[in-house]
Each structure stands twice: as structure tokens, then as C-alpha cells.
Amino acid sequence: MTSTDQQPFLSIKDLKVHFSTEDGTVKAVDGLSFDLMRGKTLGIVGESGSGKSVTNLTILGLHNPDSTTVEGSIELDGEELNGASDKTLEKLRGNKMSMIFQDALASLSPYHTIGTQIGEVYRKHTGASKKVARARAIEMLTRVGIPQPDVRVDDYPHQFSGGMRQRAMIAMALVCDPELLIADEPTTALDVTVQAQIMDLLKDLQKEFGTAIIFITHDLGVIADIADDVLVMYGGRCVERGPKEEVLRTPQHPYTWGLLGSMPSLDGPVDVPLNPIPGSPPSLLNPPSGCRFHPRCAFVEKVEGGRCSTERPLLEIVDGRGKACHLTDDQRREFFADLAASKAH
């Protein structure tokens, strides 16, 4: 352990990502800040259109520079990435930071063997020969648990099953021992038994290499399994953040309450209706004023002076725990206790 461990490895400050479209400006991410330490996993949870994928594409510099404006700071290990040259980013991508995508079949080239694709990343960053890269590819396939790696290395993606393709993607992402791994819904397309395998694999690899992981998902169950910290996103902003245990046990934001309340469990009561969040996620072209969740929130009237629709609640973080909501702490305790009681019977 060195002294750099105290510094956040990745530090995002007031990140804003806006797209200009024919219909106007889409504020996909609107003032997002978070830190990530080495060896830790941050789970980002949110519905479609909450800005979770855009955030991470922006970290990697994979956004379209012509139609996107990025403000704020993205600092990776002390190096500013917002505004960095293509050359700098190219050197970092696949090397110091890499990404696993949701759809492994669409993310692998059908014309090249798995081995070539893994080896290509390695050769680009280390200048190794084809022979060395192939050996490295076999080593990586072994590590992610592909059987007969020396044979399967010459297979094409279509010859792999869904779970194996995702393993191959992980092998490709890890081939240069990255220090930051971004996993964008890596298990959503997989069956539960295979999903469990892949999550175990990621946890093992993280233990071995001390990789920092950002894990994007819409499933709070997956978060409970893999994350250390949780960041809940809604409408391009962070509404709640904290250690996994606290966010899941004592969630503080009405949106998080809603998410947890709308999920059926394997041992809860069955003959009562679920508690869905009314309405649907906002359009980011013309987002609601004030708190972006207020049109769907059940507690808007509890806040004095109608501040929910006029004033943006600030995210106050104390010891890594915080929420962006106008309710007072007493109100919050009371309402959450009511919700918990109504769910229990």
C-alpha cells in the first residue's frame, strides 16, 4: 500500500455532458461528481435515459466531439481527461482504463478470431509480436475460465455461447491489466445462472489485480451483490450516494424508495400490489424544473413553499453518504418508517 491509495484514483467533478440535436439540447448528464478508489467497485444504478452510460462513455472519451459539449473535470490518477488529446486517450483506452459492453456479440468483430481480437489490444499497447500476443490471449482466456483455451483462441465469436463471449470480452478488457474497468450492464443480456458466474469472475479478478470498477446496471440486486458504493442516478443527476449497505438498508431519497418498492422479492408478501413509481422517466430535452424527480414524487407537498419544482436540491455528501432532496431529516425518517411498515405486511 502506498500513499497514493489515499487519493481517489478517479475523480469526477461537476461533469456536464450536453448533446445538441435538431430538437434542442439534451442535458444527458447535468452536474455529476464522484470519486473512486483503487480496488473498489462503484455501482451506478438508474433507469434508461438517466445518463449512466453517457457518463462512462465520456470518461473513456468515446463521445462524438462534434455534437457533444463536455464541461467539468475527469481526473484519472491525477491526469485531466476532459480536453485531453486523442493520442493521450488512445494510449489510456484498453491500457489503463477499459470497458466491457452489454452486448458482447455486437461488440466483437465477427470476421476475426477471439485470439486476434484480444491480441490486437495487447500488441497496440505493448508492441509485442503476434506470437507473444497469442500466448497472452491464451493466458487471458485461461484466467477468465474458458475451457481448452489453446483451441478456443482460434474460434470466431459466433462459435462461443453468450456467457463465453462475455468472458472473452472481459479477457479483452483486462489484457493490459487496466487500473480502471468500466462495466456497462455486462450481465443484463445473460441468464441468471451465467450472470452469477460472471459476477464471481469479476470479483475474483478485482481481488487479484486491485482494479477499480464502475459497474453500471438497472438492477439493485446486482448492485447488492457486487458494489462497495452505490450512486443512484435520475435524469442526468445523482440523487443519492453512499456505501451499499446504507443505501439498501436506509435509502434516503424518494426515488430510491420507489425503486426498492417496485421490485418484488423472493420472500416478500405476494398478495399485495407492488408500489410502482407513477409516471415515466423525464425527457432530458426539456427536463422538469427544480428537482427532476418532483413530477413523480409522492412527497412534493410535504416540502414547504413548493421548493421541489423551483429549486434544485443540492447533493450534500458527508463521509461519502448523501442525497439531493428537500425533505428534512425528520420527515425522511418518518416517511421511510411508514413505507417500511406498509411493505412488511
Binding site: 445462472t193 440486486g221 417496485s262 421490485m263 408500489n275
Partner: protein, 347 residues
């Protein structure tokens, strides 16, 4: 279950899709055994959940029941009438009683038709003229599914995913069906919207007394919605039981593994039992001999490879709880933990 004949009776239901060879002679070179000998019943007003991983044949089963596909073998009886090989004319009266809700609310609504036309479609096709005309009935249906009745003139693109799925539900209800086959009706929706649609379906089921075959891969949602649940693996039912029986006392190793793999949004003091299955589901073109689950099962023996276990009531089970396993699980024995490393080849 009562002695009266069930609404839907399925026995030995089988569907094999032929695989054709290439040029020049397109011979049949094999079969995908998508569904292989299913037996189950659905009573009136009951909801049966069908769960399983991709490729286990649950969607094919749904399409066989609605007779969008013709079975290769077995028998489907609807209210005492054999519809296994019924032709278009024979099916016509039944089509209005069995409806379907599809997974993708974007692909299952015609973008060029108004909502009113979409929902009135089944009535037009079946030549049904409700009192007050189609429009009145459409407004009524929109109201039932929680949409604004004034919106019947809008097009599907003006609605969100959850609202579109409500339109799909309204269309399925248009003919007062007795049975609805819902194929993954909520899996394309966001979590907060899923709950809205599940609640709607539950209301519909309770208030209108419609029987459901609810196909899903999400075990928690199936538990919430279905009174009875069948677990499928590679074209066969491995376990079928009342909801509480199945979730509290799973007897088939696969059911147990499946339940333990579901990630739950809770932080447990005591970690839950976790069974990690190795490898992937084998190909249905050439399924394993004997018990199809044996290649991933930690209890498999010689017997499992040679003898297919029948779907029977295992000792200690309640009536109606059927398990297809030579060595059913007991609740007090915790199976050896399985590691996810070194999976076997999937082929």
C-alpha cells in the same frame, strides 16, 4: 385442484423444429428439440408461471398453446376440445378466447394504426359489434388499463414503453378472453414501470377472472404473479408446484440453483445459500441423454445418464408438487458449493 376439467390441458406436448441442410438438397439434418413432452393444466382464473433460462422452450410453449405453432406431438385440449391440429376454421372460435401479450411493446403495435384501430382490431376480425360500437368499447378498455380514453386517436409513438404495454393489454382484453398467454410482458420495461404493469395484470386477473400463462425469466416477478409455477430446462418441465411450495421447498437441483442465483436487493447478515452452476445450457439440437440437467448437476450419477427421470410427486412433497429428478433435494442438506471456474465446453 377441483375435479372439474381444467381450462387448458396439455399432455406430452412436443415441438421439434427441423434443421435443413444447405445447397443443393435441403435435407433435414437434425431437429431442435425445443419442447419435448410437457404435461400441465391451467384451471379457470388461475395464473401459471413458466420460468427458465433462454432456450428452455418457454416461448415456444406459449406459441403452441395459442396455436401460432402446430405441435409435432402430444395433445392440447382447451375446454374439452382437442385443438392440437385444428385448422383455421376449427380455431376461429377459440382464437377469441385465448389472447396473447408480447414482450416488445415497440414491435408489437402497428406504428401506422391509431390506438383505437389497434385495440378494435380483434373485434373487427372476429366480427364482433359491441353495444355502442367499437369506439365506446375502446374507451372502456383504455380506462381499464389506466390510459386516458380520449387518447384513442393517437399513434403508438406518442406513448412511452409502459403505456404501450398497457395498449397491448387492452388489445388482449378486447374480446373478453378466458386465457391470456403473456410472454415476458414486463422484461423490456424499466424497473419502476415494470411494477405498474405487473399491478395492472394482477388487477385484470383478479377482477375479470382471466387465466394466465405467464412466461418470464424473472423468478421474483413470477412469484409475485403466479399461483402455480413450472420450471423448464431444455424443453422439459423439471419441477411444477404451487408457488409457496416451489419457492420454499424446491426439490429439483436446478430450481434450487436458479433460485440461489437471483440477486436480491438486500444486504444479508447471513449470506444466502449460493449454488454456482458450471457451464452453459447444452444445445437443444443434441440434448444430453437421460436427465437433461445432468451435465451441470452436482449430484449426477450413471443412472442420470441412462434414465430420464419422470415428472412425479417426490416423497415428502405435497400433492401437485411434481419433480423430475432421481435424487430430489431435501431442505436440510446444503449442497456442496460449486465454483464458477473451469466450466465445461458448451458444445
Amino acid at each position: 385442484m377441483s375435479n372439474t376439467s381444467p381450462l387448458l390441458d396439455v399432455s406430452g406436448l412436443t415441438k421439434h423444429f427441423p434443421i435443413k441442410g444447405g445447397f443443393p438438397i435441403r435435407r433435414t439434418v437434425g431437429h431442435v428439440q425445443a419442447v419435448d413432452g410437457l404435461d400441465f393444466q391451467v384451471s379457470e382464473g388461475e395464473s401459471l408461471g413458466l420460468v427458465g433460462e433462454s432456450g428452455c422452450g418457454k416461448s415456444t410453449t406459449g406459441r403452441l398453446i395459442t396455436r401460432l405453432l402446430e405441435p409435432t406431438g402430444g395433445k392440447v385440449t382447451y375446454r374439452g376440445q382437442d385443438i392440437t391440429h385444428a385448422d383455421r376454421r376449427g380455431l376461429a372460435p377459440i382464437r377469441s378466447e385465448i389472447q396473447m401479450i408480447f414482450q416488445d411493446p415497440y414491435a408489437s403495435l402497428n406504428p401506422r394504426h391509431t390506438v383505437g384501430k389497434i385495440i378494435a382490431g380483434p373485434m373487427e376480425i372476429n366480427g364482433i359489434n359491441p353495444p355502442g360500437g367499437h369506439e365506446k368499447r375502446v374507451r372502456e378498455l383504455l380506462e381499464i388499463v389506466g390510459l386516458n380514453p380520449e387518447h384513442f386517436n393517437r399513434f403508438p409513438h406518442e406513448f412511452s414503453g409502459g403505456q404501450r404495454q398497457r395498449i397491448g393489454v387492452a388489445r388482449a382484453l378486447a374480446l373478453n378472453p378466458k386465457l391470456i398467454v403473456a410472454d415476458e410482458p414486463v422484461s423490456a420495461l424499466d424497473v419502476s414501470i415494470q411494477a405498474q404493469v405487473v399491478n395492472l395484470l394482477q388487477e385484470v386477473q383478479k377482477e375479470l377472472g382471466i387465466a394466465f400463462v405467464f412466461i418470464a425469466h424473472d423468478l421474483a416477478i413470477v412469484r409475485h404473479f403466479s399461483q402455480r409455477v413450472a420450471v423448464m430446462y431444455l424443453g422439459k418441465i423439471v419441477e411444477i408446484a404451487d408457488r409457496d411450495d416451489l419457492y420454499d421447498n424446491p426439490r429439483h437441483p436446478y430450481t434450487r440453483a436458479l433460485l440461489s442465483a437471483v440477486p436480491e436487493a438486500t444486504v444479508d447478515e447471513v449470506p444466502r445459500e449460493r449454488i454456482r452452476l458450471v457451464g452453459d445450457v447444452p444445445s437443444p439440437i443434441n440434448p444430453p441423454s437421460g436427465c437433461r440437467f445432468r451435465t451441470r448437476c452436482w449430484k449426477a450419477t450413471e443412472k442420470c445418464a441412462t434414465e430420464a427421470p419422470p415428472l412425479v410427486q417426490a416423497s415428502g412433497n405435497k400433492p401437485g408438487h411434481l419433480t423430475a429428478c432421481h435424487y430430489p433435494e431435501t431442505t436440510d442438506i446444503i449442497p456442496a458449493p460449486r465454483l464458477s471456474k473451469d466450466p465445461e465446453p458448451a458444445v
